[in-house]
């Protein structure tokens, strides 16, 4: 196979157990696989019929009627499909697949009828990346390693068209890399792997068509006359004879993720486990979009309530979500969440495209700056945003207003009489022990707003005091050293 391919090559990553894995369930450990309590199945419903679409019991297959399964295993947990959770999980895997290629299509096919499975997969056009990863085998290995970090089971199939790749997964074919061999490889397969609508499939089976090759013998016109115009087109797309336009998956511009917990959890330590998975997904999203985030909102809520928001901010934007997780842990260490939660939500709206890095070989200053930024984040996460501030200057003659938290730190100094190093947060009543001497500094200002002052300040040995000229009382306002 030459490295220069003209057409696409699709890698189809099927997620056969997505309806189950998209839910927040404790996974059955290998050792306890026999205890029925750990088993659960997810069912689809159409009308009054319910059937299993995914489960973790070794003796229950997909497509079995839920009633018969429940009759056999009385303490089985049964859950309905959660389409929103499945879609979110599929998107997360789509983001993850961005490390393989940027041409991605999400496939989310519903069951074709009663007792059928859905088909959920992420298809990646890997043709442009083959050279980068050093060939198909290395790329498949990479894809396998990527999925191994996830909770999702997966099956892989490779073929030159998207539909053929899906067929290759369903039929467990070894990779088909060229269009020339595609028809020969697909012909012996049974019709079911096409996932055509059930009436068409039954009609073909009833007229003696056992394999794909039997269908391919007909010309397009006669097939269209008997089944409908879309079927010859589907075959042409399958074999790469007609274009197969699909919308590319792109990560959404704003990040929203909801996660329903299995039960209400009031111990925040226990929340960190599902949160880690969500944070990993968020990191894949950031990497897929090649952006960084400086703010992330984590919400803990009971079902469909507003919930408690935790806004995590970092001083410098990052794509390393461990930073956010550390901040959250720090925050909860100091102020644990007030209520139990059954739902987690992640939200991020603003992203920053990272500037191209300009690193120097010996750059202590930058390293220190990063260490300091991380420290500021930790302090703010635990103590609150207001707890850390810089004393700054403010252009005002009133002593209590001539400084400001996080005010101007560079303003030119104005020639003022000496000022004390300590300023009291609130002037305290003070009684002179003797006659107060020395030159007074009269500060009379602020007549234009709500806090006018009219005072005579005096310098005592250790304290800075004033007499309020409006009521004659003495106050202590500062300490000199």
């Amino acid at each position: 196979m030459s490295d220069l391919r003209s057409g696409p090559l699709w890698l189809c990553i099927e997620l056969p157990a997505l309806p189950l894995e998209a839910l927040a369930l404790p996974r059955a450990a290998p050792g306890e696989a026999d205890s029925d309590g750990a088993h659960c199945v997810v069912y689809a419903q159409h009308g009054a019929r319910r059937w299993v679409v995914a489960g973790n019991h070794p003796k229950i297959g997909t497509g079995e009627a839920l009633g018969s399964v429940q009759a056999r295993y009385s303490d089985l947990r049964v859950l309905p499909r959660d389409r929103a959770a499945e879609a979110a999980a599929l998107q997360a895997i789509g983001c993850l697949a961005y490390t393989l290629s940027d041409r991605i299509v999400l496939i989310d096919d519903a069951p074709r009828g009663w007792f059928d499975r859905p088909f959920q997969a992420v298809a990646v056009d890997i043709a442009p990346s083959l050279k980068l990863f050093g060939g198909l085998d290395a790329l498949l290995e990479r894809a396998g390693a990527l999925m191994a970090t996830q909770v999702y089971r997966h099956r892989l199939g490779v073929a030159p068209t998207l539909e053929a790749a899906a067929v290759a997964v369903r039929a467990a074919l070894t990779p088909v890399t060229t269009l020339d061999t595609l028809e020969a490889r697909l012909s012996p397969l049974p019709l079911g792997v096409l996932r055509w609508p059930l009436p068409a499939q039954e009609l073909l089976a009833g007229t003696g068509h056992a394999s794909l090759g039997d269908v391919l013998r007909h010309d397009a016109k006669s097939l269209a006359a008997r089944l409908g115009r879309e079927f010859p087109l589907a075959l042409a797309r399958l074999l790469g004879r007609a274009p197969d336009p699909r919308p590319w998956f792109t990560p959404p511009a704003r990040y929203r993720r909801r996660w329903d917990l299995d039960a209400e959890i009031d111990d925040w330590q226990a929340l960190l486990f599902p949160l880690r998975r969500l944070f990993d997904e968020f990191e894949a999203y950031l990497r897929a979009r090649q952006v960084m985030a400086a703010q992330l909102t984590v919400t803990l809520a009971r079902r469909r309530t507003e919930g408690e928001h935790f806004v995590l901010r970092t001083t410098s934007p990052t794509h390393d979500t461990d930073v956010f997780l550390r901040l959250l842990r720090e925050r909860w260490n100091a102020h644990p969440p007030t209520a139990a939660a059954s739902e987690l939500r992640l939200r991020a709206d603003q992203f920053i495209t990272p500037p191209s890095p300009q690193t120097q070989l010996f750059d202590d200053g930058q390293q220190q700056g990063e260490a300091w930024n991380a420290l500021v984040d930790r302090l703010r996460a635990r103590l609150g945003d207001e707890a850390l501030w810089q004393p700054g200057l403010h252009a005002d003659h009133r002593p209590e207003r001539s400084w400001m938290p996080n005010g101007d730190t560079q303003a030119p100094t104005t020639p003022l009489p000496p000022r004390p190093l300590w300023l009291l947060r609130r002037p305290q009543r003070w009684t002179p022990r003797g006659p107060v001497s020395g030159p007074a500094e009269r500060i009379s200002s602020g007549w234009w707003d709500d806090a006018p002052i009219d005072r005579d300040y005096y310098r005592e040995p250790t304290s800075w005091v004033y007499q309020d000229r409006r009521d004659g009382h003495w106050y202590l306002h500062g300490l000199w050293r």
Binding site: A371, L375, L383, A387, Q390, R481
Partner: protein
């Protein structure tokens, strides 16, 4: 004189301490020459804790450390004041030479938060000096902070200053340097209670502006 009796090659050894000669201690000048002369290393020890016993706010503790803050900030290193009892007044700090852009204040009420904050700041290589007002600090806490101060020993380490109330004077302390402050007529009386590698018992009266 011992230096005449000892052979030269023994004097070269770094692990031999000669009683009359102060051990080499990495230190930052305090900015008060009279005090520097009494301290081993001629200043605040770096990578170590110094304890200042302050009977009440305003006896001169800020005046004592402001030259250090000015020196550090002008050299581009960050300084932090943790849980100060009053507002460190920006115009006065500025007039004393402190670069406000490098000066930070952390408000915290709980002793646990203050200790945690001090620990974090002392461990950060970007911080040159940390002053913390801490009423309660048993030996365990002090050791924690001492370890944090030693954390960046290679890079010189931060100057850690603990400002403690009068009650702390009687408690044991692991600090490398302990000073007791008292206001007097013209400034501040500083008594050296403990000085690792130096001599104790001296007092010096500092005149402050």
């Amino acid at each position: 004189m011992p230096s005449r009796i000892l052979p030269e090659h023994l004097l070269q050894r770094r692990d031999l301490w000669v009683g009359t000669r102060p051990a080499a201690i990495a230190a930052e000048p305090t900015g008060h020459a009279a005090l520097d002369r009494l301290l081993p290393g001629n200043g605040w020890p770096r990578g170590a804790l110094s304890e200042l016993i302050v009977p009440r706010p305003g006896v001169g503790e800020l005046g004592l450390i402001v030259p250090l803050l000015a020196r550090m900030t002008q050299a581009g290193r960050r300084v932090a004041l943790v849980a100060p009892p009053h507002i460190p007044y920006a115009p006065a700090l500025r007039a004393a030479g402190v670069d406000l852009a490098q000066c930070w204040v952390v408000d915290a009420n709980q002793a646990a938060d203050i200790i945690w904050t001090l620990e974090q700041l002392l461990r950060c290589p970007a911080v040159g000096a940390v002053a913390g007002w801490l009423a309660m600090a048993d030996e365990r806490v002090q050791r924690r902070l001492q370890l944090a101060a030693e954390h960046n020993g290679d890079a010189g380490g931060a100057v850690g200053l603990l400002l403690r109330p009068l009650a702390a004077r009687q408690q044991p302390s692991v600090a490398a340097l302990r000073l007791a402050l008292q206001a007097d007529a013209h400034g501040t009386q500083v008594e050296i209670l403990k000085s690792r590698g130096g001599r104790v018992g001296h007092s010096v009266s500092l005149v402050m502006p």
